[in-house]
Amino acid sequence: MHKFLTFVSSIRWQDILDITFNGYILFRLYALFRGTDTFRVLIGIAFLWLMQRMAVSMGLILTSWMMEGITAVAAIIVIVVFRNEIRSVFRARNIWSILWGLPHKQTRTPVEIITESVYALAQQRIGALIVLPGRKDMEEVVQKGIPWDGHISTQMIKSIFWPNNPVHDGAAIVRGDRVAEVSAILPLSQRRDLPLVYGTRHRAAAGLAELTDALIIVVSEERGTVTIAKGSELRTIHTEKDFKLVLRRHLGIREDQAGYLKKRRIELSAAAVSSLLIVFLVWFSISRGFDAIKSFDIPIEYANLSPKLELLSSSVTSVRVYVTGSRALLRSIRPEQIRVRLDLGKAVAGTNDYAITEDHLSIPPGLSLKEVRPMVVDVTLDERIRKVLPVQADWVGKLPAGLILVRARITPPEVEVTGPRTVLDDIKTLYTTPIPLNNITDSGTTKTGVVLPSALLTLSPKSQEKVEVAYEAGRTD
């Protein structure tokens, strides 16, 4: 239970976004491509990828390498081979329908009109070939006919296939409630097991059915029968009732529409949950499956130091922090994202020992602390005081021959500095920056800075950074 809670608490908001985003992409792929060959091949590629990950985890170097190559090649093949199917999915859709909408089969196709027309044609022994496309693209296999785009009606269908009509040869393609094309040429089936009574029209219907998921209606002018081709099946339908049933099934029209919608909702919900679950498992395998340890040298930050105290020294300026987590996460972590912060609010003058614990560390979510070296840091503090110190000139170089400096006066003679007591206790004098003697020929003045012997010391605001040195020169006796 503790491990579970630890795991849950380690999930970052970025992880949740990651899983949700990719889960939605997977769900959209399912929604857009379900029922198509592309979807089945995508599942195959996903399986290959899974195998590759398993091979990696099992240390099968050659297998994993081969699987990786096959997966990459397969992905390219899918795009090339199924380009038309992919295109049909995205064609005629706006970005919103791709991201959000659900593909629906044509539900407005007037089944009654088609049934009535087909059986009327059969009764009159007028041959007809009608295509109701599925979700697969037919562009590659159907020779484009004459655009028609007419609202479907019994009279229109009858007139299209009327023997004296110039467009009665070929197939009529019905999309929704419109006749989209007429005189379309369908590919002929090469099957040898078709009954001999089937003519060109039936072979054309079988040919298209084999290559796509369309439903093709054939009306035989010789026998006055109605045959439906779908997939590899050619079936003669004798009653209008059975015909309507087949049509409705193909078009996704249910008698029990409410029940159908409920079933569809359940299916989509299950797909959404499955997508999230699959992505979560993939994320888990990538981000958590291969934990690693990485060390970072992190400088120690000190906080809440009393203004009356001065940080003199610490045993170390940085600590080495060992963190564990997924390799992917560790690779993306920069040292600046880890912080070691010591609260000196309760520290006193002298040496303070701090044991570095998780409370002192700030580590990005998803990573956990393994070790800190050194574990204890000694921080030496001292009382911050002010002290007035005399300033003395630091002469360097050589005076010209015969010249001496009798005396020098510094203005101001003293400056106030602030710093740790232990440092200031040992300092009795401050010295100027070196003043060269070589150029001095007579009495004069010069301005120079004051050297602070420790970086822990600062000049009080009221003290000047520069002092004036007035010197009196003389001659040797």
């Binding site: 003395q392 000139a393 002469w395 170089g397 050589k398 005396r407 300092i427 003389g474 006796d477």
Partner: protein, 148 residues
């Protein structure tokens, strides 16, 4: 190591330390005697300076720059009045680090004395001499530099 030992070793390492005591009356200097004080006066530092040497009981070439090649630095002090026999100290420091300490005895009614150190090129840097009494009270601090 105790400060006394440091001073002892430093003193022994000096080539020569001259501690001369000589009594000079102000009458000799000024040509006439001062009237006796009405009440016992406290010890007063009348003169203090750094010089290159002592000539005829007087400081020679007062200066604050001592080239190491000069070989020596001298601290001259004169007290007036000296109410009673007492001891003063010349404490020499280089950059706040004690380098030498000389105990000098003063005798009434006035007294002048000096201390000196040998110089080497390694002594280059800012120096000071604290002139103190036995209790550590500083009468005056003289500051100078030794140059290479």
């Amino acid at each position: 190591m105790k400060p006394g030992q440091i001073f002892k070793s430093i003193i022994s390492s000096m080539a020569a330390i001259l501690v001369a005591l000589f009594q000079v009356t102000l009458a000799q200097e000024g040509g006439k005697a001062l009237p006796p004080p009405e009440k016992p006066a406290s010890l007063m530092l009348a003169r203090a300076l750094m010089c290159e040497g002592i000539k005829e009981f007087e400081p020679h070439n007062q200066t604050i720059i001592f080239p190491a090649a000069l070989g020596q630095a001298v601290c001259f002090t004169a007290f007036d009045p000296v109410p009673e026999k007492t001891e003063i100290y010349h404490n020499w420091y280089k950059r706040d680090q004690p380098r030498a300490s000389f105990k000098l005895t003063l005798k009434p009614p006035k007294w002048a004395s000096f201390s000196q150190i040998r110089l080497q090129s390694s002594d280059a840097g800012p120096w000071r001499v604290d002139i103190t009494n036995a209790n550590g009270k500083v009468f005056k601090t003289l500051r100078f530099s030794v140059t290479e």
